[in-house]
Symmetry: D2
Amino acid sequence: MKEIKVGLVGISGYAGMELARLLARHPAMRLVCACSRAEAGKKLGDFYPFLRSVPGSDVEISVFDAETCAKACDVVFLGVPAGTAMKMAPDLLAHGAKVVDLSADFRIHDASIYEDWYKFTHCCREILPRAVYGLPELYAAEIARTSLVANPGCYPTSIILGLYAALKNNLIRTENIIIDSKSGASGAGRKAAVPTLFCEVSDNFKAYGLVSHRHTPEIEQELAAIAGYPIRIQFTPHLVPMSRGILSTIYTEITHPQKTLEEIQAIFCKTWSRSPWIRVLPIGELPQTKNTRGSMFCDIGLALDPRTRRLIIVSAIDNLCRGASGQALANANLMFGLPVDAGMENLCPLA
Amino acid sequence: MKEIKVGLVGISGYAGMELARLLARHPAMRLVCACSRAEAGKKLGDFYPFLRSVPGSDVEISVFDAETCAKACDVVFLGVPAGTAMKMAPDLLAHGAKVVDLSADFRIHDASIYEDWYKFTHCCREILPRAVYGLPELYAAEIARTSLVANPGCYPTSIILGLYAALKNNLIRTENIIIDSKSGASGAGRKAAVPTLFCEVSDNFKAYGLVSHRHTPEIEQELAAIAGYPIRIQFTPHLVPMSRGILSTIYTEITHPQKTLEEIQAIFCKTWSRSPWIRVLPIGELPQTKNTRGSMFCDIGLALDPRTRRLIIVSAIDNLCRGASGQALANANLMFGLPVDAGMENLCPLA
Amino acid sequence: MKEIKVGLVGISGYAGMELARLLARHPAMRLVCACSRAEAGKKLGDFYPFLRSVPGSDVEISVFDAETCAKACDVVFLGVPAGTAMKMAPDLLAHGAKVVDLSADFRIHDASIYEDWYKFTHCCREILPRAVYGLPELYAAEIARTSLVANPGCYPTSIILGLYAALKNNLIRTENIIIDSKSGASGAGRKAAVPTLFCEVSDNFKAYGLVSHRHTPEIEQELAAIAGYPIRIQFTPHLVPMSRGILSTIYTEITHPQKTLEEIQAIFCKTWSRSPWIRVLPIGELPQTKNTRGSMFCDIGLALDPRTRRLIIVSAIDNLCRGASGQALANANLMFGLPVDAGMENLCPLA
Amino acid sequence: MKEIKVGLVGISGYAGMELARLLARHPAMRLVCACSRAEAGKKLGDFYPFLRSVPGSDVEISVFDAETCAKACDVVFLGVPAGTAMKMAPDLLAHGAKVVDLSADFRIHDASIYEDWYKFTHCCREILPRAVYGLPELYAAEIARTSLVANPGCYPTSIILGLYAALKNNLIRTENIIIDSKSGASGAGRKAAVPTLFCEVSDNFKAYGLVSHRHTPEIEQELAAIAGYPIRIQFTPHLVPMSRGILSTIYTEITHPQKTLEEIQAIFCKTWSRSPWIRVLPIGELPQTKNTRGSMFCDIGLALDPRTRRLIIVSAIDNLCRGASGQALANANLMFGLPVDAGMENLCPLA
């Protein structure tokens, strides 16, 4: 297998750490370039002590330069904040590297919607049409053909995968979808800040970002693409005192009141029958985030309320692996014609 | 102040521990009787090491006998499972003790609804009409006059207090109320069981009891009493990797689309202006469970979605103090003509 | 009881929060002044949401000015970093306020030892002789007479109380005392920093500060004062993924090999018989930090190894209450002639 | 590569779960037999929801029968309690299976010492001489030749690896070795018990098993084997509110006071230069359990106290992977002539 040279820009966050973990065992990809202004000069293994003695740990951290990085790498993962990625991607592409952007900069097809929610100008509208939304189960063919993947957000991944079978098969009404999501603290990033200190998060639970979270338009865009017409959702995220994991509890109204839970579950199973990473649970079982930890699995559980005729869909993922870096790696695999799970074969959750 | 003699039946759970903690500082109540078959003969301070040297620690644990207990005590708190409390309460009442029952046995006015959800026969229907639902803010006068208080469930406390102002003031529609609640692990009790082991709960999040949780009819009964007509809700509980705390995220549809969030918040504030334990947060702030830990506070935050016209109410309590033992103590205070917060004056959260 | 007016300088840390919690219920002390440059202008209850509706929450945060503060207050608690407190204390004292300093600035009698370990110049040597080390069980009389208390460090409190009975009664050799301490994350303070983020601390354990922790000379000074001659110890702190609590495991060699554990435990009990906050556990029981949470208790357990003749002393405290703010309040009580536990009577742990 | 058929007896514990996780990706081993009386008839993936869709999940759980199991398997891992393993191993061996026993039954060469500490009779002394202590770095050759491996305990693994270089190179005195170890809650097993409930372990820290922990003779046996003469240690375990990980802080007295920390660290590095799983950290860095999570790494940090001339060795491992199942798998690899890290190549920690 020809070696694929990989760059990682932005190493200080949890997504960067997770990507380094996953690349360590990839049969074809090799990390050759890791960029961070603050940490330049160190070996990656000195900055990530967990990585010592593992492939990738000897890479010397350098200051990002688009041309140098693009020439050294076949693909570059951008683990930088929204607003920064859009400044880096065009030059990388121009110099011939493929790009997987983990930020939100290329997820929203309509730049004006992006600007409404993210509150700054999109400086890179011209390459926006080239970006493919990197959800492998939905867009594998498009991902394989593009050089710019917009890697999905963590919450949207859990929600879109949770709702896909229901929308695709017209099982639910598209009004009144209420999504109550809960995330571990790694979703808030690895920056020094009081609200994510251990003593603030531990033995505590809170909601945040009500009626205004930036993942809302991304979710609506993708649900609309599945349904074929616009959808407006209610989305509320919460912070759970755990490191990893997202669980979304999704309240929907069913279209066919006579459908049984068994029938609905069978349709979910059939829809995902060729997607080994989607595990539709048996009736009576519900997902737990720990059963997906460190893996690409999305576990989906279903309940149907005989009193209210609501179908409640519960989905769980690891926010860092499936919700960020593992999914980014799957996208890169597709971009290079590798099996989507290369490097992640039988990646068993660390329950 | 005349001393009030207190009994506690069922000491092995977290509610018993919490009651012992709160009684230690009560100016008028004194724990004189603590019952547990398994621990009989020990001093309470030997079973609860945290209690050593604190008033109550010298009480010797005894086997429950209704007559003995009733004669020794002015009021008895029942911290035993549903189904057991209904067998103890009649004899205690008959022998002259007042009873605060922390189980569900006397919460549901209609015994057949109780039996539908709890799956066993209610053996004590004759005293059910005497039972008052012990939510002090709503039923203080009735509590003061009764000898049998049905102490509310933890989830219902957070939900009823969260919705009261909205329902009372006709701010929301009563259809499509969706309640997504999250509780710390102490809510599952202190019995040996694999699913509540540290390694199972820690760094994990899950939903449970979908469409079937026993608190559902209790919530519906009390919301109906506020609204004046039957209400059907959707209620989903989740398990949070924390010890204490409940947060309920409540999705409602507003009745008057032109009402602003400022107006709604002002109505909430006015409704609760004489209830110091209810803290309606300023607009822009949301509750966190830790701000209520170990206290009687119920913190309520509000958000109004301009896109969907939904009012989202978020309420937080300590499930053991406000959601169980502290509320039980407040009820007992009312039953004896004491200030509702006797022994809990300025009980500041341990944030 | 005459009202005692209290000032708190440095509100942004966990010690400030804990002091506000404890003052809320104090029968004689009232918080009238809270200083913080960054938060000036806010109400204290807006900065500490847990404090809302509780006495103290209405105090407006102001910028510190020594004269203003001293004139408004009878006693001022300094919750500021080492190096800052020594600049504030002299002016406060000069303007007539008593001072309880929670920093290390006045703990070490020998300023040159302070400078060796803390790496900056002690700018306030002239008032150092007035400072009393604020461990109430050891120095109550001196505390009552001084206007400047140096409040002990958290680790030293757990260690000095753990070793006191053994040293005072000549039960152990003073060579080869090895102290392995473990602290919750609140000991690291409430400043934004990556190493104390939830995801860094959670499900993790580490040692830190080996052979160089600044509490070492403080511990040695006080142990020497008990023993009557210099003592050199080995002290290693560790970070536990919990919010509150310190547990110290102390390895000592016994002086009288024929002494039984029963005899040693009896001597510990006798030594502390008039100190209700010190709980010497029965043989066979060991302390747990949670049994002291939010309280002034120091729990002490003992084991004697028949194979090695070592006495292992295990002590546990709450690092924020007993190890900081509760002890500061006890010292202030003594300084004003109040019972040492005023405001903390029967303060039962929140286990 | 010829397929090696694997059996696992005792699936309900955390070691069984971890072994299933690791086997999922092994290139040569395949789980064909999983035994548990309580769960017989279920698919393994139904009992371990994390394992669904992963190799091994389709194995049907059966009741243990030595002959059946031995005939179906090339190697059997015993994940059963001490006292039970010794009853199973002889029959398995007699029917031709190799055995890796994760219990303590074959670790102690001297059966009378075993009986002193474990308090029951060793019923299988005759095969004890065939058992090899399965620490791959120390006994690879012997492990390769035996059919019965006694897999080391979790604490002993962290301690023996931590001390090996110091003892082997005569850097420390063998008197006064004090070992203060801390373990996550998975070390206590997956049985229903109140002391390991989430609410008991969370935000809490305690010592346990003082002067009597059963791992003591195992540690002493192996340290003596390295040193060449008997060694008596002081060993104290503690329970940390985390799932996985052990950190041991080891206090030793150096033999050559003139040796610098740099020299000592260099000797450690040289001793372990061919052992990629042992990571001797640079001076100034200390291990953290999370940097080893889910991996075979043992991280070792060193500090030398210039005041006391003590060398403090801090070692960290994952108690379930390196301290149990991963090590068991490494031993099985050696027993079948595979690379010691087969199936665990570049197994990067999930930090």
